[in-house]
Symmetry: C2
Subunit: 253 residues, 2 copies
Amino acid sequence: MHTLNALQRKLSSHSQFDSAERKILAAQFGRPQVFAARQELDFEKYSDRNAYLVEEGWAYTYKILPNGNRQVVEFGIAGDILGFCELQMRRGDLLAATVTPAILHELTAGSFAAVMRSAPRIAAALLWSGAQHQGMMVEHLIDLGRRSATQRVAHFMLELWQRLNMVSLGGKDGFKCPLSQPLIADALGLTAIHLNRTLRELRIAGLMVMGDGFVEIRDEKGLAQLAGYDSTYLDQAFIPKAVPYGTHQAKVA
Amino acid sequence: MHTLNALQRKLSSHSQFDSAERKILAAQFGRPQVFAARQELDFEKYSDRNAYLVEEGWAYTYKILPNGNRQVVEFGIAGDILGFCELQMRRGDLLAATVTPAILHELTAGSFAAVMRSAPRIAAALLWSGAQHQGMMVEHLIDLGRRSATQRVAHFMLELWQRLNMVSLGGKDGFKCPLSQPLIADALGLTAIHLNRTLRELRIAGLMVMGDGFVEIRDEKGLAQLAGYDSTYLDQAFIPKAVPYGTHQAKVA
DNA sequence: CGAGAGCTTGAGGCATCTCAACGGTTGTGG
DNA sequence: CCACAACCGTTGAGATGCCTCAAGCTCTCG
């Protein structure tokens, strides 16, 4: 039961699980597999569709356009679930791959349903995590739509840092980051070339330095102001007042 | 029970509801309110957070950046739910407003929980709709990140047309569209000025015409090819094979 | 030792933005 | 009923942020 640490760590800021709940999680999600770096992930590996829960390492989802352009939709780190929406819906054009060597749990629609059914508190935590995920997508949208290149990079790095800190993978003044410049560029809607120049600007401005697989945040406040960064959409403290979805003891007319 | 038609129409492509289920829907979601055009919607109207289900009319969610720029996140038409993720999560910076006069249902976290609990098939349909919604956000992301202005407009219009058709609000060769050019521009990450020129190009190319509150699709295939439009992410036919979330009769180890 | 990938820099081009202006429509208040 | 404000749609001219093309260097891997 030493696996599934990442998901529990992430959801723990929402609620702690007891041993029965941990058992359910382990039974349903506990099939970790080792993947090499730069390996494609198949959302249709079996007859049914499946999603991936990241236990360790980095992965991402992306789409290739007809003209060959690539748009990275999201990066998955420990505790993240990739392909959740593909689980619900046939959608052949969204692809996924690992960045680094990674340990992933393959989730099926059935295992998901079982968890939602039998462990209401986990279900609520997963929905909370889904809402957070959607908040990130909104922010990503704004990045691409209305922020300049420097703002995008600053915002992206601050968000990534906070996400890593939420699963104890960040450092005091930076974080390990295996993402290549072409990969980040395709997430931010930029050219790798322009991203490179933007990173240089941020370095010269004394705001942040990226290199050697590490991102060093030199001036958090400066970056936050530049990016208009407001982290409430990742807020861990908020717990909904109302009964969370999935508590199935009561009957309602 | 003549209200809530829009949601049922939208979800009907996923599954049909019986009279008991319709009763639950009406009891929990059936509090329609009339709103004027251009009216702000408050996600914190009551002590608890609330979302809005669109019954009739058009609305949208957006965010204002520190520099005054606006990014429209999504447009809501009949059957759409705005602020779902805000229901889960405190997030003060996302705003919403009506475009036209509109009839909206105010949804609370509690009413949502009650539906999820007591009507599994509706819960499954709502999750399906949520997945579709997320698919749209992915496509929106790609619009902003990797498509040219003409491609964005073409893609946006085709998607909107299909969404309207899904709730029987579209026409054979176009649709009524109350969105102003500044509004669409802020959704697509463009200037209103440039959007205007882009629309002219599309008109001259014989692909589509927008004017007088109507969008006329002149060459659907041409637009689809230009935009790289693939509508599978809105596919209505797909129904997941596995047991949907929320069926709570069985117990799982 | 060669191939492939990433990082970096230079020079030129273009898609889109900014600033500016005008006419039409709608709503509003005196 | 008129005057005015606010918003929208449209067009022009100039500026610029980002892209494209091109090249060289480094590192890793087979």
